[in-house]
């Protein structure tokens, strides 16, 4: 995992303050994500982890603080700027498009790569069809990678939870992201499913060099696959470092009250 780490920063957040009404979701959070690493964000429930991802994504706009992505500073990101900038994500409570099939859902992930307009779409034969097939080929690679060929045409609403999470990962991967944000990708999965998911995440990181920011509660997984970890509690950063460093940190232990998560 650490072999191909260049010490180049892909994303940096500085002094992020985010609140909703009176609730302070994030207070003065700063950390960075290096290119090619797997960076886990952990912390007790309500610590602000999902909010942090939402800020990176451009869904929430922090009241204060700066985000620097690929060297460019931003005070605020618009969601589709983040998407076309190469940031893709999965969601804590699956956000798949229920009315569509697996294939169509993953194809929507290719949206930023496709551009043929209304006229060509209406005609279908010609440039639109070619574009559709090109992108379909890429999506099929993703489908093969995630081993979900048999559920290609199934409407995602009918799939079991674990497979839905996998399809959501597929949709994110289809966008060929530079930075992949995963919000509890293994929540609600059994051991076998978790092993599969970990394998997919690691392969994505190692083979394609995708930088990954991961929210996860399963400490075993976090220790196994992360390069570095950030710990949040009540909206503040209370520790960061390698998994071993963080595990030994007293603040972290206090925050979790020593409760094991398996």
């Amino acid at each position: 995992m650490t072999a191909h780490l260049k010490n180049e920063t892909l994303l940096e957040v500085e002094s992020i303050f985010l609140s909703f009404g009176g609730v302070h979701a994030l207070s003065d959070v700063s950390f960075d994500i290096r290119k090619g690493e797997v960076r886990s964000i952990i912390g007790p429930n309500g610590a602000g982890k999902s909010s942090m991802l939402n800020v990176i994504n451009g869904f929430y706009h922090p009241q204060k603080g700066i985000i620097t992505y690929q060297g460019k500073r931003r005070a605020q990101m618009k969601p589709h700027e983040a998407a076309s900038g190469g940031i893709a994500r999965t969601f804590q409570n699956i956000a798949l498009f229920r009315g569509m099939s697996t294939l169509d859902n993953i194809m929507t992930g290719r949206n930023t790569k496709m551009s043929k307009g209304l006229f060509w779409q209406a005609l279908h034969f010609g440039p639109a069809k070619r574009e559709e097939i090109e992108n379909r080929e890429f999506v099929e690679h993703v489908i093969d990678f995630l081993e979900i060929q048999t559920i290609r045409k199934t409407p995602v609403g009918r799939l079991p939870y674990g497979l839905q999470k996998r399809v959501e990962l597929g949709r994110a991967l289809a966008a060929e992201p530079t930075l992949l944000l995963l919000d509890e990708p293994m929540a609600g999965m059994n051991l076998e499913e978790k092993e599969d998911m970990s394998r997919f995440i690691l392969e994505t990181n190692e083979e394609f060099g995708t930088t990954i920011a991961l929210i996860e509660h399963d400490m075993g997984v976090v220790m196994d696959i992360s390069d570095r970890v950030v710990v949040l509690d009540y909206g503040r950063k209370i520790a960061e470092g390698t998994p071993e460093e963080v595990r030994a940190n007293q603040n972290v232990i206090d925050a979790y009250l020593g409760v094991s998560h398996d």
């Binding site: 956000a95 498009f97 569509m100 929507t108 949206n111 043929k116 779409q121 209406a122």
Partner: protein
């Protein structure tokens, strides 16, 4: 054993993406098209054309349009009647200004005008959703109808306030007005609807259609994966309004012959088309046709049954019709919210297994 996919393997993505991947479906549809284009014109008469086929086609087109907006993109609209009016009045004025230009081209431009108006009234959808948006479309509905009623320019200052279609020839064949033959009117309408249906089907299964459905299913997630809500929603309004506008132009020019805004394009019309897509099936191209068939045939059935069969007064038959329509809407929403199209699909799936039970 009739309906099997056995042996029909697709060896290319192109084949997999075809509109009718199963051979039996292709044959069926080609059959229908053959009958529609080559058979019906020879046997059609005034009644069938004017009371059944042409309204069916026109309403199906309107239903297609509304389905694109509401069924595929999830934006509720109660302004369909008004948009049909825009198409009708646009075609009326355009024919007045450019009588020598081909009618088809003028209808196309009427659609474009309606698309522009649709985009304008669709702008609020960027900030509001659900039935709040429905209110915005109601604003369009009431305002536009008032406009067409009040401003004389729209109806060439005719003292009755009505617009009447001029007799128009399409490549030498009369297609509007009392002298047009039923076959001519029918074929003209059919061709337009066939081409537009194909276009709709193409759009819907491609990138733009997917972006519409993504917005419908979860607009926040859609935005977060890079689908621009502005483009998606406004394109839905534009395409939808185009279709509804063309439907309106045909409704006025070929079907009615003359129209008056409060009767032909009022809020009840908006409800009618909404019912078409609910009964036919939201988010389904086929659904628009099934729903239109239903809505057009029901009153005829009712009249024949009740007035002809039971001797009921036609006023009462009208009330029963309204009651039945409402009950059917509720029935469909409860039992099969995906409408007749889903029932059709289920029937086909049963047919695949036939004669085996499962």
């Amino acid at each position: 054993m009739l309906y099997r996919e056995n042996g029909q393997f697709k060896s290319s993505y192109s084949a997999d993406q075809a509109i009718f991947p199963i051979a039996q479906d292709r044959v069926f549809v080609i059959g229908i098209l053959l009958v529609a284009f080559c058979g019906v014109p020879f046997v059609i008469n005034e009644y069938w054309a004017n009371a059944i086929l042409i309204p069916l086609l026109v309403y199906a087109l309107a239903g297609l349009g509304l389905n694109i907006l509401t069924g595929y993109c999830g934006q509720v609209s109660l302004g369909t009647g008004a948009f049909m009016a825009v198409g009708a009045y646009a075609s009326f004025k355009l024919v007045g200004f450019f009588p020598e230009v081909n009618y088809l081209i003028l209808i196309f431009f009427s659609g474009l005008v309606t698309a522009a108006v649709g985009v304008l009234f669709g702008l609020p959808s960027l900030r509001i959703k659900g039935f709040y948006l429905a209110v915005a479309t109601l604003a369009a509905q009431f305002f536009l109808i008032w406009l067409f009623n009040k401003v004389g320019w729209f109806y060439d200052h005719s003292p009755t306030g009505m617009i009447t279609v001029r007799p128009i020839d399409f490549f030498g064949i009369r297609v509007t007005g009392p002298e047009a033959t039923p076959a001519a009117k029918y074929l003209f309408t059919l061709t337009i609807i066939a081409v537009l249906t194909l276009a709709a089907k193409n759009i819907v299964r491609g990138r733009i259609g997917r972006s519409w459905m993504a917005i419908r299913d979860m607009d926040i997630a859609a935005e977060l994966i890079g689908i621009k809500p502005l483009q998606a929603k406004l394109s839905a309004f534009a395409v939808s309004s185009f279709y509804i506008g063309v439907a309106g132009a045909l409704y006025f020019g070929v079907y009615l012959g003359s129209a008056e805004p409060l009767e032909a394009f009022d809020i009840n019309q908006s409800f009618y088309v909404l019912f078409i897509i609910i009964i036919g099936g939201l988010g389904s191209i086929l659904g628009a046709f099934l729903g239109a068939a239903f809505i057009v045939l029901l009153p005829i059935l009712m009249k024949n049954l009740m007035v002809g069969g039971f001797g009921v007064a036609s006023g009462t038959a009208g009330h029963v019709e309204i009651l039945l329509l409402g009950a059917l809407i509720i029935f469909f929403l409860i039992v099969e919210p995906h409408g007749l199209a889903r029932l059709w699909q289920i029937a086909k799936e049963k047919l695949r297994l036939w004669p085996f039970p499962h």
